[in-house]
Every structure is written in structure tokens, then in C-alpha cells.
């Protein structure tokens, strides 16, 4: 059990980009470049995604059935792949966001022990 939990936590860390992609697609279908730009802009350019690493992540999400891809025509009339959140992906986003919140709270407690109630 504990190994599995540790694995989940690691996955969560690795899966940060996945989470951000899902969050971005919640607003509507987008092509790869739009996703990259959105992540940069929404995080006030704090999170600099190496754009190349976006694609393995996108395909991983397709494989898991969290997003789907379809061919379409972009704003300037060029053919592009559009990525769309699936219902399964939406549920995943909710679950992962919850986990992320708990995770970041836990980290925060450890990093700022002064605010923690000491009981022992």
C-alpha cells in the first residue's frame, strides 16, 4: 500500500503538466500552440513550459482517454489538431485538483511549521 501511495505522489509531481493541460482544455478545445501559450499567460509566465515536452504529455492524455484529438481548421484557416477534454478527463481533473490541493497544503505545512499547531 505504502509503495503504491508513494508512486501516486510521484506521479502527481510528474503529472503537473498533465494537470495544467487538462485545466487549460476545460475552457474549450485548443491546438498545441494555444495550450502552451495559455499555460504561460495564465501563470503570468512563471511556468515556462518547454513547448516540446507538451506533445508527449498530450499523447499520454489521449491514450488514457482524458482528452481526445480531432482534425480541424485553425483561426487562420490552417489545418490543425484540436484537443478536447473528455468527460473522463473532466472527472480526472476534479479528482486531481483535489489531490493537488491536499498535496500543496501538506507541503505548505511542512515548509512553514511555525503556523502548525503543535500537539505533541
Amino acid at each position: 500500500m505504502s509503495t503504491q501511495e508513494r508512486k501516486k505522489r510521484l506521479e502527481l509531481l510528474q503529472g503537473t503538466l498533465d494537470l495544467l493541460i487538462l485545466r487549460t482544455l476545460l475552457l474549450g478545445p485548443a491546438h498545441g500552440h494555444q495550450v502552451a501559450r495559455a499555460i504561460e499567460v495564465n501563470s503570468d509566465d512563471v511556468l515556462q513550459v518547454e513547448q516540446g515536452s507538451l506533445y508527449p504529455a498530450l499523447h499520454r492524455l489521449i491514450k488514457r482517454g482524458w482528452i481526445s484529438a480531432e482534425k480541424g481548421v485553425s483561426e487562420n484557416n490552417r489545418r490543425a489538431m484540436f484537443y478536447r477534454l473528455t468527460p473522463k478527463g473532466r472527472r480526472q481533473l476534479v479528482a486531481e485538483t483535489g489531490k493537488w490541493d491536499r498535496f500543496s497544503q501538506a507541503i505548505a505545512r511542512i515548509l512553514r511549521p511555525a503556523r502548525q499547531e503543535s500537539k505533541s
Binding site: 500552440h33 516540446g52 508527449p56 499523447h59 499520454r60
Partner: protein, 877 residues
Amino acid sequence: MKWRRKRMLEALDEEIRAHIEREMQQNIERGMKPEQARRAAMLKFGNVALAREDTRAVWTILWLEELWQDVRYAARQLRRNPAFAFAAIVALAVGIGANAANFSIFDAIVWHAIPVRDFGRLVLINGWRKKTRSWTGVSYADYLDWQSHARSFEGLAALRYRQFDRTGEGPAGMVAAVAITPDFYQVLGARPFLGRSFSSGESRPGRGHVALLSYRYWQSEFAGDPHAVGRTIELDHAAYTIVGVMPRAIEYPHTDICVPLALSPAERADRSAHNLTVLGLLKPGVSMAQAQAELRTLAAGLAKSFPESNRGLSVLLRSLRVYINGNLSYYWGLMFAVALGLVLLIACANVTNLQLARGTSRRREIAVRASLGATRRRVVRQLMVESILTALLGAAGGLLLAVIWIHLAAAGMPRAVAQLISGWNRIRLSPLALAFTMSIAVAAGIVSGILPALYASKPDLIGTLKEGGRTQTPGRAHRWLQGALVVAQMAMALVLLVGTGLLVDGFQDMLARQKQFAPSSVLLFHVALPKARYNQSDERAAFYEQALQKLRAIPGARFVSAFTTFPMSNGGGVGRDFQVAGNNQRSLKSLPWADAQSISPGFFAMMHVPLVAGRDFTSADSAASLPVAIVSRNLARRYWPQGGAIGSQIRLVRSGKPGRWLTVVGVVGTVLWDWTDQTPENAIFRPLQQAPPSDSFFAIRSSAGPISLAPSVRQVVATIDPDLPVTGDMERHPETLRQAIHDSMGGIGLIAGFMSALGLIAFGLAATGVYSVMAYSVAERRHEIGVRMSLGASSASVLGLLLRRGARLLGIGLALGLPLAYGLARVLARLIVGVKATDPIAFGSAAVVLAAAALLASYVPARQAARVDPVQTLRFE
């Protein structure tokens, strides 16, 4: 799944390019120069190749991971439904096992009859006389010319069949020998088991007194002595030094020993001595037809240069594979392959039906999975993995059955027959057979699973979920599919049952025919006269006269006779051309052919062959009297359709040289010598005293246990000639005619046995198939039946309703199966005597048995349903 991966990756390159261009465009809009904008965009994207590679890796790993998931899920499903798993695995195990066993047998006796590397490229080359369309030998000089000019071969070697008398030390007897050129075994691709083969020096005249033993001869005559190499063996009064022993599995050429072909310069130059057979190894990629065309061109050239000896002489190539076990084993193999394919298909249909039935109850599970985001393709793949896993488990069981099957086949074949089938002793589950088994298992998994998978995954989510799996009334397509499967099963089972019936009938017929010879009261033995002491025909005639006289004197011997071959021995007499006087057969080159035999008076009476006209031979037909002959009825009908055979003249022609005219004194009933021969051959019999052969069978009929006469027989022969070998082990295994015939019929007995097993399997599978479908369709209509009955339908009318469907499917199945079965019957009729393509019993009984089983299989579940209390059924619903 693979397809989707490919589609996704195909778009990737273009997508990355577009991505970078968009970034560049934005950079330009921010005021960068094009070149700068491009560099910044590339920098931001990072390593393109790495991104591409990582993306690919995502698919590969996930694909495998998912496959593993599917396998585990499938295993869980099978564990959860042990009844289904068991039924499916057993059906497939039987189907796959039978196929694996047959493949192994076919592999051993056809594809690898001799275990040499390039077996498929070895050919036998003989001369071919265009005019008479008959084959002949090759002269040494022609062989040398081919060797230096033909480009199609990696090597050419020559052999010549010979016969020696063994003299000196050891038991006397005839020794079958083959004289070979020194490169013979090199061309064949075999190495001696012990010692060496011949050197080129040993093919010079006077230096060829060396010998290679066959493994069999080494075992029987030298007791497998490991020091046999170096010992000598005396043949025709000359000592040969043994230089080696050939391996056990190399059963070609079929001989006791090999000696070098040592010809004098005059013999080497002689183009008129057509007495060699040439063995050739084709170069890779050269076809038989190409090689034959090349040799025919060479032969045409030789015919022009040496018209005296080579005019009209062409070349005939045969593959060694066909030569060794004959065309027959190929056709048998093919017939079994088809029969086994049908068995496997029936098994697959059974599994398909099981899965269809289960698929309906699984639709809820599948609908849940689909609602959780599994695509249809994913669901189909998962179901296919499950079905292939089932088939692989079936294959594991099938291999076990195959081992047993092979064991039975090896043990069931009489030794006398097995010895003649090259490779029979080497039947085993080879790696090739394992690979074959795995492939057919995967194929069976796909075939049996694809329709149910497609059907069960049909996207009808909401309906299924809403209904909550309560009234799982399957659609028309489902019912139609099940019906079609049952029909196909019936048709295939009918074909197999008819085939079984025909073979069993044929075997019975054969057993009945041999009874006319009353063979169990006949003691049979064989004597071969060494040509050193019995070279002259009067010497042989004298031996036979004495032997018959003394054998008749043995107390208890009622009939004694000598003859060339016995009925249904599958061997014949000697094939000879013949000519009928006054029948306008001008050319001696295109004569009809008959089986020539030498018999003693009383042979026909002993074998219960009816004398149709004229008389039998008597002791008065001696070397000094008028040369006479008796012909078979089929020959007499052909040449003297109006009668008048008696008193006519006929003569045998040997290698173009006619013999004496013989006067026909009798006509006898046609005898069947060979069960593979549909039309019994013409036969010409001559008195033993006028044509004494170098070896002969003797038979003694005795009412009181023929075997008990064996010691006296041995004694009698010894008093005439103490050195004469009587069939090797007569002391230990005296043989009755019945045993001998049974041995030669063992082949067909075994085949009939196998076919019966296959027919039984097919029958069982088809019956279960019908039962499961009927039971299922009754279960699914339970509600409807309840309603009908509560509205007043009698249980008889319900029964009729349910039976009608079974009967309809049965009818269609039989209607489709009968023409197919007739096709098979025609093939079988050509293969075995006694099998008639229109045998009403075989067809009738197969149809009746199948119909009875199918109706019973429908009746049992239907009756159950008709008995049910309607109130209960409705409440249950």
C-alpha cells in the same frame, strides 16, 4: 489500437512544424525580425527530435501496458466463468490438438521423409522414351555430359540398383544393393553414421570392393557391432571391406548395402546401357520445370549427335519427395488437412456460440465500461484478447492431446507398413509443429471471437443501461447469426460423418472381400532362390517341383500352392507388356500392360478364385509341354468381348523383346491385389514350371491350426536345400495369410480409425453446438413462453414452436452439407477401392444420426420450457 497510434503519430510532424511557425508568427508580431523570431521559437520548443521520440514512446509503452491489462482482465473473466471457460477450452483443445497431431505426421512423412537439409531441392532424373511414354535408365556417358553442361544443379550423382548373393561367412541370402558414384551422399546431403563414404579412387574398376551398410542391415546382420567398420562381407564370392554405416533415418535409397559404381572405360563410354538413375540437387531458386527444360535441350542435342543410342530419348524429372512416399500420402495428407480444418471450424463455431450467448449477459458490463470512456475499439480489443487467450489455453490442452494422438498413430500402424513409410518412425511434435499450433490457436481465437466481440460492443449504451439488463431480448441479427452458425456446423459435421461412414464402409468391404480367401487357415511363407545356384530355369523348376511335392506330404496340409503374390498384398506381380495375337497391335512399343504372375496348379482353388472358363493348370503343364496361360476376366472381356479367349494366343513382351506365344487355357475371376487401385489390373498367369521365378510365396491350407505346420515346413525346405533362407523370422513369427493381408490393410484400418475419431469429435461438437443454441434460445424466450401459456397455449404447441426452429436449422444444414459431402465422397472413391461416391448407407446414416442428435438437442430444452409453470415464469421476470 495500432491503427489509432499510427494515425496519431502521422499528424505529429506536421503539428510540430505548425506549432513552431505559430510561435514564430507571434514573435514577429511582437516586433522580432524573421530570423530572430525563428531562432527564439526553436529555442522555446526545445529539442524537436526528442519531443518526437518521447511522444512515440508514450504510445509504445502504453500499448504494451494496455495489452498486459487486457490479458489480466481476460484471465479474471475466464476464472469468473469457469463453466464457459471449460467448455470453450475443451472444444478448442480437441480441434487444435487433432490439427497439431496431423501436422506432425504430415511433416514427418511428406515434408521431411528423409531428414536431409535440402530435401525439397532433390530430384530424381530418368530417361524418358517419348514414343512409348515410358521411363528408362540413363547411360553413364549421358550422365557425364549432363554433369559437365547442366547449369541447374549444384550436384549430380548416379546410382544403379543391383542384387548380390551373400556368400561365405554369415547367413546366406539375397542382398539388395545400390552402386553409387562417390559424390552420391554429398549430393544427398548426408554423412555416414559410422566410418566414411566412398572416395573417388574406389570408383575405378577392381578397386571398388568396399561397402556401406544401411543402418537396418547393420542392426540385423551385424547386431549393431560398433567395430563392424573394417570387417568384410562376401558378396557373389568377392570380399568387400565395410567402410561405413549410414544413419538410421536416411531411408533412401531403400537398400541393404551400397557399393561404389566402378565401371570400366568401355562401360563408361557406352551410351546404350540405360541402367542408371540420377540424383540431382537443384540450385536454390531453380524450379523443376526449368531444370527439366535444360536437360531436355541437352538430351535433344545428344539425340542428334548419337542417333544410334539416343534417338527419341528425353528426360523425366521427379521430386524425391513424391518418389519416396508417393503421391498417395500427399493426397491423404490433404484430405486429412481438410477434414481437420472442418473439425477446427466446428469447434470455433461452438465457442462463437458460447460467446454470443455470454455476450448478451455481458452487455451491461460492456456498457458500463463504455460509459466510463472506453472506446468501442478498446472494448473489441479486450474481448479479442480474451478470446485469443481462451484459444491459447485450448492449444495447451491440444498439445497434450496431440502427443497422445501421435503415440496412438505410431503404435497403431503395423510394423510391416510403418517400415515402408519413410519417416513414420520419426513422427514427433517438432518446433515447426509447435509454431503451427500457436498460429492456428491465434487464428481460432480471432475467428471464434470477432463476431461476438463486434456484436457485444455495438454502441447501444443507453438502451442497455436503461433496461438494466432485465429483458435481454437480442436483436434479429443475433438470432440470425446463431442460426447461421448452427447451420454451418451441421453442414460441416455432415461432411465429416459421411467421410467417416465411407471409410469405415470401405474397410468393412475390404474385410469382407478378404474373407473369400478364408485366409486364417493358410500358412504363408516366402522363399528366395540365390541366383548363384539357381541361375537356370530348370534348376528353379526342379526346386519348386520337389518343394510342392514334399509340402503336400506334410500331414494336415490340404492345399499347397506357390505364387508370385497374394491377393490384397498391395504388392503386385511383375508388370509386363503383352500382345494379343491377331489384335492388330503392330508396334511393340505401345503395348498394353498386365500383371504377370507364376503360379502352381491349385492356386485358384486355394484362394477361392472362381474359374470362369477353361481349365486350371495341371502338373502336365511342364517345361516340355505347350506353353499356356490363364487370364483374368477383365482382360478377357477387353480383348475377346464376344468370348473365345480359350485357345487364343497371347505373349509377354519384355524390354521390347517378345517371348513365346502362349495359348490361353483358362479365364478366372478378377482378383484385387491392391486396395488403392480402383480398377483391378489385367492379370496373366503362367504355370510355375514354365516360368519359374527367382522367389515365390508358398501357402499351405490346413484346417487344424496352420501355424502348427511351421516346423515341418522348415524341415522340408531344409531337406531340399539346407542353405536356403525362408522368410527371415518364420521360426519366431510364422504368419497366416490373414495376418499378412491385415498388415497390408493396416494402413486403411488406421486411416478409417482416425477418420472415425474425427467424425465422432465433429459429431459431438456439432451436437453440443445445437444444444447450447437451443437451450439459450429457449431461456431467452422464457418470458414469451410464459405469456403464451398463460393465454392458453398448450404445452404441445409451445414444444412445437420451439422444435420448429431446430428443425429448420437442421434442414438448411443438411441441404448445404450434402453436396459438399458428395464432393468429398468422390475424392475418397478415387483413393480407395470399395468406396462408392454414391453409397446410400453412408449418406443416409450420417444424415439420420445428425438429424436425430440435433432434434434431441432441441427437444430437451424445449420440453423443459413447455413444462414450466407460466405463473412462475412471469413472476421470475
